[in-house]
Amino acid sequence: MLELDLQQVVSQAISFIVLLWLLRRFAWRPLLTILDERRRHIETTLQDVASKKTELEQLQAAYAQRLAKIDDEARVKIQQAVLEGKRIAIEVQEEARAQAQVILAKSKETVELELAKAKVTLRDQVADMTVEAVERVLQQKLDAKTDRALVERALDELERGRVRA
């Protein structure tokens, strides 16, 4: 066990050098390379995930901000729509009122006209009836044209007297 044999020592040394060369070339290099690559890959992936997370958070914040803005805008629009609705309602009311006034005025005119017409007709009828009555009373026949002039004059006087009263 303790005897040193130079041949054996040299053989062992050569054996180790060959093993070292083989393992260095075919095991250590590829394995260390793949470990480094995997480490880099994991680091890159983690950095990507972190940056994506930050990006996502920023997007989320932007969306939240936008949603809030949309809410505000919607509220403002609703308020505007309500005001517009009120304004239109007032306009419609005023228009309707004006139209009603116009219609009322027109109706008034029509009524007055009709009244005047009725008055004229009534006067004519009253005149006719009066003439007829007077004819009967007086048993005297005047010509129709003169009778009529007399009656009309009498009615005018009557009317004037009523107006004064």
Binding site: Q8, V9, A13, S15, F16, R24
Partner: protein, 271 residues
């Protein structure tokens, strides 16, 4: 008279050596059976080389098989190999520093080779080649040579000599050179000696312990009149110890080699 005494001492030493129990391996069995066949005798003479070459071959096959086309997502043996490779890389990196990666293959190969040789005694009919001084001496001499080579390459010849002289920078330093130079030289030569002897004796002691337990088991079984094919497996109690010590010894050899390299590198401040 003196010759007779010397002869007596030599004879008793030989007997003592023969009395040290050792587990039989494939080659010793062959040698016992066919000791007169020349190739068996040759094998017996070179059995340490044969077993260490077997370990080296197994290591080559294993690493070649699983590192030829390493998968990005590892599984099975590749996992184990990567675990060892990364462990050794970090270990060397911690001892040597950022230059450690360059020395990882050397230290890693040393570790795996010694570790497997240490453990091979647990496989029936195999032998730990590291229980032989020739193997450990060869490895220690290689480490010594590599460390000196690294020193000369990194420090330059003058820097290397300056390192050996204790880096004298003042008058006291120069006056101490005649003292420091032999001490450093002696230290450099003691390193491989301590490396080889420590590993060899520890592994040898483990092997002897294992053999003693096996022998004790057989003795107990004979004493209890049990059938000869059913010995008491006392070695089972020692196997965990062998596993631990084999790993520790491989680690110690690798660690010390890393430290020697680190001490020789220019950035190492060891004074």
């Amino acid at each position: 008279m003196a010759v007779e005494a010397t002869h007596h001492v030599a004879e008793s030493t030989t007997h003592a050596a023969e009395a040290i129990p050792e587990l039989p391996n494939l080659i010793t069995l062959l040698s016992h059976r066919w000791h007169d066949i020349p190739w068996v005798a040759w094998l017996h003479q070179w059995e340490n080389i044969v077993f260490s070459a077997g370990v080296a071959l197994a290591l080559c096959i294993l690493t070649w098989r699983y590192s030829r086309r390493p998968a990005t997502i590892p599984s099975g043996w590749q996992n184990f190999l990567e675990l060892v490779v990364e462990g050794v890389d970090q270990f060397v990196g911690r001892v040597i520093g950022k230059e450690g990666r360059y020395f990882t293959p050397f230290i890693g190969t040393l570790f795996l080779y010694i570790w497997l040789m240490n453990l091979s005694v647990l496989v029936p009919f195999l032998k730990s080649s590291t229980s032989n001084l020739n193997t450990t001496a060869a490895l220690a001499i290689l480490v010594f040579s590599y460390v000196q080579w690294i020193g000369m390459r990194r420090l330059g010849l003058l820097g290397y000599l300056d390192h050996l002289a204790g880096q004298p920078r003042d008058l006291v330093g120069w006056l101490l050179v005649p003292l420091m130079l032999p001490i450093h030289l002696l230290g450099e030569f003691i390193k491989p000696l301590s490396l080889s002897l420590r590993l060899c004796f520890n592994v040898f002691a483990e092997d002897v312990l294992l053999a003693v337990m096996v022998g004790l088991g057989i003795g107990i079984s004979v004493g209890m009149h049990l059938p000869s094919w059913a010995p008491v497996p006392l070695q089972l109690f020692v196997i965990p110890l062998v596993l631990i010590f084999s790993t520790v010894q491989a680690l110690v050899f690798s660690l010390l080699s890393s430290v020697y390299i680190a001490l020789m590198l220019p950035h190492a401040e060891h004074h």
